[in-house]
């Protein structure tokens, strides 16, 4: 059952919230149990039959889930790392909450959001339907807002970071929806497995894939949409270790993996991916070397490492997909271990910056050892699984040519530089700060990840076979991924050695470091981060300017709408098809009552023009409305008459209530102003012109022959629709969707009114 892990986690969330209300202390363990259960169910369900439930066949909507090789790989990463993160958070969150003087019970929503995020990831990887993929993709963005902004009530930094992450990933995911709908419009199906056989190369496919790739790359923090990731380091460390090394950034690359067979057919998009990947590797690597804050180094490193993954995907083919999958797996293990190390160090020393820390190997030997293994894995040193992630990259680069080999070596060298700098800067050298003892709960997950990295370096086959299987299944052809220690001068080994040598050389050249750091800080100034902030600022300024232009008082605003509308309608009347309008019928059927009612309405309208006092104005307008209601009733429209009477009454009462709340002084002022403005011949002329226009429009419209006000079809159908009242049938049945739309508008207006009134009240 491919849906089983997802359902387990979804069911666990309300249970966790409910139990957390009584005993907050057990929520981490419940979350850990859930994550472990999800992992087991996932591994047990690999290769099971895909599931496809049609839940709205008229709209072609299906709930389709399929747990294939690539889904199991990403899902196991999400669930496995999630389990370790929950254990880590059990040790980290109490201290974090204590520092901010928050109650322990506040950790319950944290674990709930974490589990919800895990559920979204599981749904994303198993989804076989493009729209379902999109829904889970957006769900991860929403969960990440609440996780990154966990401290948003206490820290402005967390607020901006969460909002930035949500905006960047959320807005680009609209591009993803557009791409998906393009594919649907072109090929008529949303099922991923069917699409692969139906697509053909062409501009449409290129455009759709480019849009989807945009969303995926923004999610994986690739240049130029990478700037949200360093900001997101304002999140608590478990969140950074989970989302920004193993889960959320992996979601973007997963989408590219899923659509890899389609990417095969699109040279242009793959070229674009290639360029973006190279830029990310370059910029991410350089910024990681220059950064000082621990988590920021790791964030930029993630940008660079996911650049490698994108590069492997851009190279294409089953081998590229398999190598990229292996890279994601190993990276997740090593990077989350390093993030957890950074968090642990910050907790026991109280410092976040590399320049303020050092010599921690003596007080924290265990941490030094396990994080050293993880760092070695990231840098690609032998005896760790990381060696093979680089070896696969080198092998594929060799096939492409010398220039890519050079780039790969440089990239590996830069990874070595910042990783060694990180580890050495933390653990070796003279001690700079005192360190408290490390809780076991913080060490154990890092140790587990380090063990996995080491195991992957010694027993190479299982992980490589897994990635190979994933890649082969995607493309329906063998990926032929081989990795192993070869004590020979293969190109890969040579490149690895060159990378180590280059890295060591540059590390030794200490003098270069500060120069590089200064130069790169200048680079960041013209970076995309500034562009984003500039964009927001410009949009705000533009809206202020428009507001200033548009709004003076109510009269100007109304004039701004009515005058152009009136002119357009007049233009339509003059230049539209004339037809047989402006007919005149005799009085005939029209009873004297109707004439009297209409005359009364006219009289009251004329009276309303002469009113000086506000109350008089309101009452005469009500009179007009009620008179018209009588006219409707006489014309045989009782429903409309009823509604008119009720609406008039309600609005009059609301008007008078508002009037009673206004201060007497301002009412008197308005009366005086009105009497001054009352003169002026051109206002009278404008009034007559407007009235004349409305008269002509009404005459033209109502005297149009053949204009059927209630279609004959409705009259005939209403009997079988069990409605003797045609108006009710039209509102609730024939044109029910219109009613639903209007109801939605009404509800939104209600929410807006309440929040506006509440804000005004709070301000005063």
């Amino acid at each position: 059952m491919p849906v089983a892990p997802l359902l387990l986690v979804l069911l666990a969330v309300p249970l966790l919230l409910w139990l957390g209300r009584w005993r907050p202390a057990i929520t981490p363990w419940l979350a850990a149990l859930t994550a472990a259960g999800a992992l087991l169910l996932l591994l047990a369900a690999v290769g099971s039959e895909p599931v496809r439930w049609a839940w709205a066949t008229t709209l072609d909507l299906y709930l389709a889930f399929h747990l294939d090789g690539i889904a199991s790989l990403y899902g196991a990463v999400a669930a496995g790392v999630g389990l370790l993160i929950v254990v880590y958070a059990a040790g980290y969150m109490p201290h974090h909450l204590h520092e901010q003087q928050r109650a322990l019970a506040e950790q319950v929503p944290f674990y709930a959001w974490l589990l919800l995020f895990l559920a979204a990831m599981l749904g994303l990887v198993t989804a076989d339907d493009l729209l379902l993929l999109f829904v889970f993709f957006d769900l991860t963005a929403i969960c990440s807002y609440f996780l990154i902004g966990y401290d948003r009530a206490y820290s402005a930094q967390a607020r901006t970071a969460a909002l930035m992450a949500l905006l960047v990933t959320g807005v680009t995911s609209v591009a993803m929806l557009a791409g998906i709908l393009l594919l649907y419009a072109e090929y008529g199906t949303l099922a991923i497995s069917e699409l692969a056989s139906r697509v053909q190369a062409g501009v449409r496919l290129d455009t759709a894939l480019a849009l989807i790739a945009l969303a995926a790359l923004a999610k994986s923090a690739q240049v130029p949409l990478h700037f949200w990731l360093p900001r997101a380091m304002a999140a608590p460390t478990p969140v950074s270790a989970y989302l920004h090394s193993a889960a959320m950034v992996a979601a973007g690359v997963f989408v590219l993996h899923r659509l890899h067979p389609l990417l095969e057919l699109s040279e242009t998009v793959r070229l674009g991916l290639f360029v973006v990947a190279l830029l990310s590797i370059l910029i991410g690597g350089l910024l990681a070397i220059a950064a000082d804050e621990l988590k920021r180094i790791l964030a930029y490193s993630t940008v660079a490492q996911y650049g490698y993954v994108t590069l492997l995907l851009a190279l294409g083919g089953a081998q590229g997909a398999a190598a990229a999958a292996y890279y994601v797996l190993v990276h997740a293990l090593c990077k989350s271990a390093l993030f957890m190390t950074a968090g642990a160090v910050t907790q026991v020393t109280g410092r976040k910056r590399l320049s303020e820390l050092g010599g921690l190997a003596r007080p924290l030997p265990g941490l030094a050892l396990v994080s050293g293994i993880a760092a070695a894995g990231l840098a690609g040193l032998p005896l760790t699984a990381g060696f093979f992630k680089d070896e696969l990259l080198f092998k594929l680069a060799t096939e492409q040519g010398l220039w890519l080999q050079v780039i790969a070596v440089l990239a590996a060298a830069s990874t070595l530089i910042y990783t060694v700098r990180f580890w050495v800067g933390l653990f070796l050298g003279p001690p700079k700060r005192r360190a408290e003892p490390l809780p076991g709960l913080l060490l154990a997950p890092i140790a587990a990840l380090a063990l996995l990295t080491l195991a992957g370096g010694i027993i190479v086959d299982p992980a490589v076979k897994w990635a190979d299987h994933a890649g082969s299944e995607l493309h329906h052809q063998a990926a032929e991924l081989h990795a192993g220690y070869k004590l020979a001068l293969t190109p890969e080994n040579l490149m690895a050695l060159a990378a180590y040598a280059l890295g060591a050389l540059l590390l030794a050249a200490r003098a270069l470091q500060p120069l590089l750091a200064r130069g790169l800080r200048r680079l960041d100034v013209v970076g995309a981060d500034r562009a984003y902030r500039l964009l927001l600022h410009t949009l705000n300024a533009l809206s202020h300017r428009l507001h200033g232009l548009e709004v003076r008082d109510l009269r100007d605003r109304l004039a701004g709408v009515f005058i152009p509308a009136g002119l357009l309608i007049a233009a339509g009347l003059i230049w539209g098809p004339q037809g047989e309008r402006y007919g005149v019928i005799g009085f005939g059927d029209a009873t004297p009552h109707l004439v009297v009612a209409l005359a009364a309405v006219m009289l009251v309208s004329l009276l309303s023009v002469r009113q000086r006092r506000h109350l008089g104005l309101i009452l005469t307008m009500t009179g007009v409305g009620l008179g018209l209601a009588v006219v409707f009733a006489l014309l045989g429209a009782p429903d409309v008459a009823l509604v008119a009477v009720l609406v008039e009454t309600t609005l009059t009462l609301l008007f008078i209530a508002t009037l009673a709340l206004l201060p007497e002084e301002s009412l008197r002022r308005e009366r005086r102003r009105a009497s001054i403005l009352h003169g002026g011949w051109w206002r009278t002329l404008a009034g007559f012109a407007a009235g004349g226009l409305v008269f002509v429009v009404a005459w033209a419209t109502l005297s149009e022959p053949g204009a059927e006000l209630v279609p004959e079809r409705f009259r005939q159908l209403s009997e079988s629709a069990h409605a003797k009242n045609i108006v009710a049938a039209i509102l609730a049945d024939f044109r029910g969707l219109d009613t639903l739309g209007e109801a939605t508008v009404l509800f939104v207006a209600l929410l807006a009114t309440i929040s506006l009134l509440r804000t005004v009240r709070r301000r005063s």
Binding site: H722, K724, A732
Partner: protein
């Protein structure tokens, strides 16, 4: 603004007006009326209380109405959305009513058991909640 006679009549009229509103809702499918009119009539009944007794008194005497106006409106909209989109689950187009055209309709007296009535009930709740919420807010109350 109110004399003892006005207050007595206003208090007496509340329940009949609410019942009149409900009646309009129910008979709307076969005679003049419907959810919108019924909702407005019911809201007018409560508005009368506001006009005669003032907001604070109404908040004290009818907490169920003033406190749940927003929830009422939300429930109304939700009901309308359900009636529209639940038929998709069994493959019918949106807003397919049960019982379908020309089928037999169960009657409870003069009350027809028809999903269009649920739709009208949704409109009723939405309009009622809307008017009361806005009125309460304008009169200086706080909406939860």
């Amino acid at each position: 603004m109110s004399s003892p006679l006005t207050r007595l009549i206003a208090r007496l009229l509340l329940v009949p007006i609410l019942l009149l509103g409900l009646g309009m809702l129910i008979k709307g499918y076969s005679e003049t009326g419907g959810g919108f009119s019924g909702g407005l009539i019911a809201a007018l009944g409560v508005m009368l209380q506001y006009a005669v007794f003032g907001r604070a008194a109404v908040e004290q005497q009818l907490p169920a109405v003033t406190g749940t106006a927003l929830a009422c409106a939300s429930l109304g909209l939700l009901l309308m959305l359900l009636v529209t989109f639940v038929p998709l689950l069994w493959g019918a187009p949106p807003l397919s009513h049960v019982p379908p055209p020309d089928a037999h309709v169960t009657h409870l007296g003069t009350l027809e058991l028809h999903t269009a009535l649920l739709f009208e009930l949704g409109i009723f709740l939405l309009v009622f909640g809307f008017v009361i919420a806005v009125l309460h807010q304008v009169a200086g109350g706080e909406m939860p």
